[in-house]
Symmetry: C2
Subunit: 245 residues, 2 copies
């Protein structure tokens, strides 16, 4: 499985993904699920993927091939004029993959289901965040619900629900994503280190953060321990809270 989370804050876009894939618990591997592109001064874009790995790899490969091909006709991620055109491009590629492989996989009782998150900003426009479904259709995050999640989303949803609004700072956003991921890592073996984290500050048109947090990262362990301690302290404080009965 997978856990990816992305926030659309007024301050910018925050993305975090794990890197574990599995076909059964006895077949675990590491694949990056975050892909980023920048045209300095023009656009910064990121895609995160979940679900059937052959499908999502094929979509990412098609996106990259179109960008790399100087003779490519039509839209590419780096020449579309708007983020919603980028979402439509991604949805079309997803639909093509599903049409190609879906029926065969269904016949084998396998799933071709896949989902993607697209985040980015173009010069002169706001940061935008999309979720692309298996069918190729897509939705966009709004101020009411300023985040999307992929994969094993339930463990890490309560903390995001409680602490994140559109007005949250980038720093709080990254902290919330990491805490949400940390809870998921502890409770579900199918989500695993290392992590990929990215930040696109509003108006920067580039990534202020784009890095991998490895499993042995001492700073992340200290961060994780600090959250455990803070959570336990919050829990202990409940001994003085109003009684439930």
């Amino acid at each position: 499985m997978t856990y990816c989370v992305a926030l659309k804050l007024k301050a910018g876009l925050v993305l975090l993904s794990d890197t574990r894939t599995n076909a059964g618990v006895d077949n675990i591997a590491r694949f990056g699920k975050m892909f980023t592109w920048t045209v300095p001064g023009d656009r910064a874009m990121a895609i995160m993927t979940a679900g059937n790995l052959a499908v999502t790899q094929a979509v990412i490969a098609q996106i990259q091939e179109a960008i790399d091909d100087p003779n490519h006709q039509g839209d590419t991620l780096l020449n579309v004029p708007t983020m919603s055109r980028a979402a439509a491009l991604l949805g079309g590629l997803m639909q093509g993959q599903q049409n190609q492989w879906g029926p065969g996989l269904t016949g084998m009782n396998e799933s071709s289901a896949a989902t993607m998150i697209l985040a980015g900003q173009r010069a002169g426009a706001e940061p935008r965040l999309f979720m692309i479904y298996s069918a190729g259709n897509y939705i966009e995050a709004t101020e009411d619900t300023p985040f999307f999640q992929l994969g094993e989303f339930k463990y890490g949803k309560p903390i995001i629900d409680r602490v994140i609004t559109s007005d949250s700072s980038i720093e709080d956003g990254v902290t919330a994503c990491l805490v949400s991921m940390d809870s998921t890592l502890r409770s579900n073996l199918s989500v695993g280190m290392p992590l990929d984290v990215a930040v696109i500050p509003n108006g920067a048109l580039e990534f202020s953060v784009r890095r991998r947090i490895e499993a042995d990262d001492k700073n992340f362990h200290a961060f994780s321990d600090a959250w455990s301690a803070a959570l336990r302290e919050a829990f202990t404080k409940m001994r003085e809270a109003p009684k439930w009965s």
Copy 2:
């Protein structure tokens, strides 16, 4: 859906369940999912249920009818000599219901799946906690994993994973269950108030707590607000935590 959680602590057994059932989001109802029996000085027992409501209601009805029938031959929940015999009794009734309704429901693309938690203590024995699966087989909680959950378990698992061990007090156990439920209620509409809560202190052979928390319970709202505040404070404290990069 459903959320039920039960803890087996050295200090005793703690149980909490919601009361929402749904067949689609447009068909929501309220059904108790916690059933309790006491023979003072001899045994205290509780069952929580999830899954196909017709199946779990039939199992509970059979248990109660056997208890109520003075001519009943064989085991009842109130005369079995051990908790594991009680689990076997429950598993047998589950298996019978599955055999009776499973094939027909499968043919209609409906699920007969159901799960149950059995918790209790007999005079002279330790408190024990079992999970009964659809097939009728069952497992028992141990010190390594002193809790079981039914239904929408993922939202509320991280907090239990972090704060509960066999050595936790009853009071902390109830708090952890309520906090775990509160997170689930906020993140998933298919789990809903009111709640049923029960406590069987080790050696008491009766319930020290067996009550319903209604949706308008002011104390529970205050408790829930206190947890939100404590959690937000814990999160804010992370601004001073070691940086993740």
